[in-house]
């Protein structure tokens, strides 16, 4: 069954813009990205939108629909009332380039700041062996498609541009957690202290665990419960817990 739906789509660039009204046909089974494509094919051929796989796996078509950060390709039109006006805007935490396209280079800069996996010195290529129970936690984080919806919704940078310098955002703190939990990462042996880095370089203390990153994650990764809070606890081990410090001095044990 088809119907005529009303849309408001943000059109503009870094110099300004506004919400433009459109009326467009919606067919049964369609997602918001289908409608955006129909707009491009009909009323707005120059509408800029970033997209790729249309299957929720490339993380390209992130936008805000009725004020909520979502993937355009994974938001079914059936969740809206046919009489409702659907508003589509670009991500509001990043600089806008044109229409629905934003400059997400902040995220790539933050990605470069995370020290990469350090291979263990005693193992060569092809010699890595890991048990499933040791990598389960890490594999959840590997589901990330880098859509940056979590980075966009996190109030630390969304509401405070000045914090972008000090705060890496949930996606890259999750990356730090992933590497710190990795059974073969030899960062400590190489002199890289990931826990100190999480606190001092990536701004973990800015996170006040209000869980918006988890709420918007299209891969349903429990970012807060499984990455950020465990990382906070690891930072407590490293920096705030005198008993753990004492234990590490006496027994020289490693987790």
């Amino acid at each position: 069954m088809s119907y005529q739906a009303r849309f408001k789509v943000w059109r503009g660039d870094a110099d300004g813009g506004g919400l433009a009204d459109f009326e467009v046909t919606v067919n049964e089974g369609e997602v918001v990205l289908d409608v955006v494509h129909r707009l491009q094919a009909t009323a707005a051929p120059d509408l800029a939108v970033r997209w790729n796989c249309k299957a929720g796996k490339c993380g390209s078509c992130s936008a805000e629909i009725n004020g909520r950060p979502r993937l355009l390709c994974m938001t079914r039109m059936s969740v809206f009332d046919p009489a409702e006006t659907v508003t589509i805007t670009p991500l509001r935490a990043f600089p806008v380039l044109r229409d629905l396209v934003t400059d997400v280079s902040y995220n790539y800069a933050k990605a470069r700041e995370v020290p990469s996996f350090v291979p263990p010195a005693e193992l060569g290529p092809g010699q890595y062996r890991m048990k499933q129970e040791d990598v389960n936690r890490v594999q959840e984080f590997r589901k990330c498609i880098e859509c940056f919806l979590c980075q966009n919704t996190c109030h630390v940078v969304r509401d405070h541009e000045e914090n972008k310098q000090a705060f890496a955002g949930p996606r890259f703190l999750m990356r730090v957690a992933e590497l710190d939990m990795h059974p073969l990462d030899a960062a400590a042996e190489a002199g890289v202290d990931r826990r100190r880095g999480a606190r001092e370089e990536h701004g973990l203390g800015y996170c006040n665990i209000t869980k918006c990153c988890t709420e918007v994650c299209p891969e349903h990764i429990k970012i807060t419960d499984n990455a950020l809070i465990p990382l906070k606890e690891r930072v407590v081990d490293r920096s705030y817990d005198p008993l753990v410090w004492l234990g590490s001095k006496i027994r020289r044990r490693k987790a």
Partner: protein
């Protein structure tokens, strides 16, 4: 430090627009475009927490009607001051001595209060509900500056695990109190009343909430890098993780149950209600 992430400096004489109204972002006058009832969840959370704060403040300062043999209110156990009523066989230890003149509940409530105040779930709840930081996802917070938990006083949230240790002790004592509920008012075993059930339900929820704590999850096994080398801790971590997934529900359920248990004891102790006895 980062390439390309230095904040912009404001032009002289112009205050920079904040947050979603920053000059580089899409020019949208509305602070947010959410059309759903986003305010409902923080409002309900704040109302629930406020109701508990009001109730517990009244009961903590009352210093009366907290013991109706064999039941003791969870707000008043263990009783650490000399000014407690006599609790036959109960956790009535008077460690603080006779100089304490205020309600004995105040001495012990610091620990569960600290545990809940620094709890990762409650932090989310009151940051959203009371401090609007943020009130809801993609809804701007009203504060001009934000430093999160990097500075005093919020950096003290990192002591959560120490409150967890105390919470385990308190839960142990409340378990003892619940077991004492199987005695009658004269101290003879083999009794059970509605109060016994209330205390048992309360302590079950308290334990579930305490053990589902994120710090507990970390201590039990989360801090390990190789689970395969610690199979027992891995299994325990799995159990705690299963509980941890319901931490929010357990936080609320145990908050309600502790208030209900206290109110039940209050009703029985004040004579407003007579404890129905099963055997």
């Amino acid at each position: 430090m980062a390439t390309g992430t230095d904040p912009e400096t404001a032009a002289a004489g112009h205050a920079p627009a904040r947050g979603v109204h920053h000059s580089t972002r899409a020019a949208i006058p509305a602070p947010h475009l959410r059309a759903d009832r986003w305010w409902l969840s923080p409002a309900v959370t704040a109302a629930g927490l406020l109701a508990f704060v009001v109730y517990s403040t009244w009961r903590a300062f009352a210093g009366a009607d907290y013991y109706a043999a064999p039941y003791v209110s969870p707000f008043y156990s263990p009783c650490l001051a000399d000014n407690c009523v006599e609790m036959k066989g109960g956790a009535d230890w008077g460690l603080v001595g006779s100089w304490w003149g205020l309600s004995p509940a105040l001495l012990v409530l610091i620990f569960p209060l600290g545990f809940r105040l620094t709890c990762y779930y409650y932090r989310k709840a009151y940051y959203r509900g009371f401090w609007a930081s943020p009130p809801a996802c993609a809804v701007p917070e009203p504060h001009k500056k934000y430093s999160g938990e990097t500075r005093f006083p919020l950096i003290l949230q990192n002591v959560h695990r120490y409150f967890f240790y105390f919470a385990v002790l308190v839960a142990g004592i409340l378990t003892y109190d619940a077991v004492l509920g199987f005695r009658d008012a004269d101290g003879a075993w083999g009794h059970m009343g509605l109060g016994t059930l209330v205390l048992l339900a309360n302590i079950a929820l308290i334990w579930a909430y305490t053990l589902s704590c994120h710090s507990c999850r970390h201590i039990v096994g989360g801090r390990l890098r190789n689970f395969s080398k610690h199979p027992v801790r891995y299994r325990m971590w799995g159990w705690v993780s299963a509980l941890n997934a319901r931490h929010m529900q357990l936080a609320w359920a145990s908050l309600v149950s502790v208030a209900v248990a206290d109110f039940y004891v209050y009703l029985v102790a004040s004579g407003a209600f007579s404890d129905p006895r099963f055997f």
